[in-house]
Symmetry: C2
């Protein structure tokens, strides 16, 4: 339970005030336990990419398992005042909250699954009050970890098999911004982290070199290199750019030669500034000439998928990529923008719900949704969002969300699987959370099922994913009905 290893046990107040005011309203109107369905989804792949890697389920599960209002939480809620100084909430409501046990069903796509716009990543079904309350923390956790896992997958793809190390803690957005991002980066493709606490909590391999300050603390660069090499005979990566990069490489080589009789293994050098293509080529030459052909060249300095691709195209001789700010904050798009929308309420029968928008593509989808993925032996072919409660035709059609006149008929000979798996049943965890190495392996398998044109980091092909045509038609009818002025 890593979340509770880091945080206090009760995170029940980790939500927006309006979740509690709505909860109070539902309770007061006798609607608190009416059954409802919400879906968590995003509308656009991040970074202009063609896919998204789902992540964060484990932390979401840990949050839900611990969901319980403590006396301290209730005392705080009881202390909140309205504008006239009156208590915002009645005591009987606080008593209700205090006695409440999480009792929703929850279905979710496993961490590491590749997903696409409008597909529910999480579906919560249960008492309206509870299903509403968990909106904000579920969004915080899933939005961020999914964003970072996706960023890491893109960077790992650009590195084409090279090692990628997550180095970004110092630029992370807060403590958990570093911890949960280190885990998500590992899920998505990073091979290790510099973050020790993430290493301990999640059992992620930790890696590191040394800082410029190490070199500065000594009277000369040689002395600094020798001292570091003596301390880590078999695990030394020397940062060579404190004063002059290529002079630094020469000194590192001299020190390596001097220490070889003691069993020194020259692991690598790190470049952290300057023209990385030129410097890595020159450094490689110097290292090779000195016989250190197995010595790695690690690069860092504001790297991301674009820069790594560019450096590789230019012929940079770098084989380990230390990626910091740009990965840990998802710098070019620091939020995913996932939403959590009500899709059905049961009042005797299920009533399907939507939220209108000026754009059809932004209007939420009604029903109790599942995602069916069609695939053949080679790769994933198409995804179809459908309403679980409605019968499916034998050969369903998928409607392109960006051009609803385009339809794709699913061929009979392809296989399919449904992506949302049961996680909680009436509040009881029924899903076995996979361990982190399994999630990481699964992510790579998932990415391998996508055609490389969809994995392209810039202007990728669009993966076919849309609504089942019956659901699409139902949604259209519902929109038209809601737009009749007298009906709402």
């Amino acid at each position: 339970m890593a979340l509770q290893q880091v945080y206090r046990t009760s995170l029940s107040l980790l939500t927006d005030l309006y979740q509690l005011t709505m909860a109070y309203g539902y309770w007061k109107n006798g609607m608190a336990e009416r059954e409802a369905v919400f879906h968590l989804y995003f509308r656009k792949n991040p970074f202009g990419g063609g896919y998204t890697v789902a992540a964060g389920l484990e932390h979401a599960v840990q949050y839900l398992q611990a969901l319980k209002f403590t006396d301290e939480d209730l005392a705080y809620l009881g202390s909140l005042k309205g504008s006239q100084g009156q208590p915002l909430f009645e005591q009987a409501f606080l008593d209700y909250l205090g006695a409440m046990e999480f009792s929703c069903d929850m279905d979710a796509v496993p961490e590491g699954t590749v997903v696409f716009p409008n597909e529910p990543l999480v579906r919560v079904k249960g008492p309206l009050l509870q299903a509403q309350l968990v909106e904000t923390p579920l969004l915080t956790i899933i939005n961020f970890e999914t964003l970072i896992a996706t960023k890491a997958a893109r960077i790992k793809e650009a590195a084409k098999g090279d090692t990628v190390i997550e180095f970004g803690m110092r630029r992370a957005q807060g403590i958990d911004g570093s911890l949960s991002a280190a885990r998500a980066a590992y899920v998505g493709g990073a091979d290790a982290t510099s973050n020790l606490l993430a290493g301990q909590l999640y059992n992620i391999p930790v890696r590191g070199t040394h800082a410029h300050s190490w070199v500065q603390a000594f009277d000369s660069e040689e002395e600094a290199f020798e001292a570091y090499g003596e301390a880590f005979l078999q695990d030394t990566v020397l940062l060579v750019d404190t004063y002059d990069t290529l002079e630094g490489v020469k000194k590192a080589i001299a020190v390596a030669k001097k220490l070889q009789p003691k069993g020194f293994v020259f692991g690598g050098i790190r470049l952290d500034s300057g023209d990385l293509t030129y410097l890595s080529q020159q450094a490689r030459k110097l290292l090779d000439e000195a016989g250190f052909t197995g010595t790695s060249i690690v690069a860092s300095n504001d790297l991301d998928e674009r820069l790594i691709t560019h450096l590789k195209q230019e012929g940079a001789k770098i084989n380990v990529w230390g990626v910091g700010t740009k990965m840990i904050t998802a710098y070019d798009q620091p939020a995913l923008g996932g939403v959590y929308k009500l899709a059905a309420v049961k009042d005797g029968e299920w009533e399907y719900k939507i939220k209108l928008s000026e754009q059809l593509a932004k209007t939420s989808n009604p029903g109790i949704l599942q995602v069916r993925r069609y695939y053949d032996q080679e790769r994933y072919q198409a995804d179809m969002i459908y309403n679980e409660l409605e019968p499916l035709p034998a050969n369903p059609q998928i409607v392109d969300p960006l051009d609803t006149t385009r339809r794709k008929t699913v061929e009979a000979n392809v296989q399919h699987k449904d992506l949302l798996l049961p996680v909680f049943n009436k509040g009881t965890l029924i899903y076995t959370l996979p361990d982190l190495p399994s999630i990481k392996t699964y992510t790579q398998q998932e990415l391998n099922q996508l055609h490389e044109s969809i994995r392209r980091y810039l202007n990728p092909h669009s993966y076919p994913a849309g609504l089942e045509s019956g659901l699409h038609q139902y949604k259209l009818d519902l929109i038209l009905k809601l737009r009749e002025p007298e009906k709402h």
Copy 2:
């Protein structure tokens, strides 16, 4: 101690692995307790702005106060293996860490102080090993909170006295990405947060309305509005854009009139989509015509300082701004880029240190630095970074860091104060952390001391801040000496 109210007590592993490998190296070389000085500073104001608001000191202090390696921490470090399977660290080193007590001096600028590039926000002086170890968490905390406080100050400035509410938890970068950002946003200028846990931990006012799902959960919008109004008679803000915004406003007005006999106070409406200028103008007209002239119009939907300025210029009738993603993630620049550099080591005498860079402006500053701020009765005039250990001339000169041929002589009649205040003395906290309302008030006082051309959000004037000319000359000499090939 809010940090320890949220997090586990021991955050000693919350650092980069290389801080521990360097620590081990210093320890092995007998340099662990050599006295050293590090400065934490940034090189560029974020968001293309003209100033930065320092924040994060309270959490930094809490982290340092709790700095102690537990048996569990040491067991993890003891479990780390080198590439040949050997333990990475000797047991005697782990014993040293286990016995270690934080014993550094720390000086820092108070939270809410306006600061400028290259000025130390934090100065740590003490045993090399310790002063190095705390680099990463200090950077994580100060970088992020300073970034968000600055963003909030810009947004509050754009809102020109209107209320600004921080709404961003669902898009935050992790749990602490929401909590510490809610606090920093409050420091910088936000008036309230939607984040309940931040409200509880930091005693920040909490605010909220309701979601679209509230409206969807009822059979009609009127019914939903009435139910909410009944639940919060004196504190109702109604979200009116679930189906059709202006129809929603009309229904809200009808409900408000119906509930008036019960003591209903029509607090506000919220607009969350569409053309906010047009819709707010029309909504204002409808509200005013119905006699609800005191009813607020709250707007949300991807707002930031640019959009708020634009909406105000267009004549939008909005008086409360709910700001989410763009503030909580500092969307247009999600990392500050602050660094922590060694500036002096005492080996008998103080030796001043720099890290070279291809650009003079990026080379670190040597010495034991302090920032002197000159001001007159109206406003802040200029800042001078100087070495505390060297004597200052009677009329010091400040060197412009972007054009070192430009010098500013400090006039004799202005007052001055030094920005870095003592916080820890040999590990003992000697600074009284101000409460949050005081910090918030101080921030506004600070911003008022800046000419408005410096506070402008786009293309601001540059505030004069640079090195004292003697320090500048010393730095130049040191660079030239280090660039002589034989000397390093």
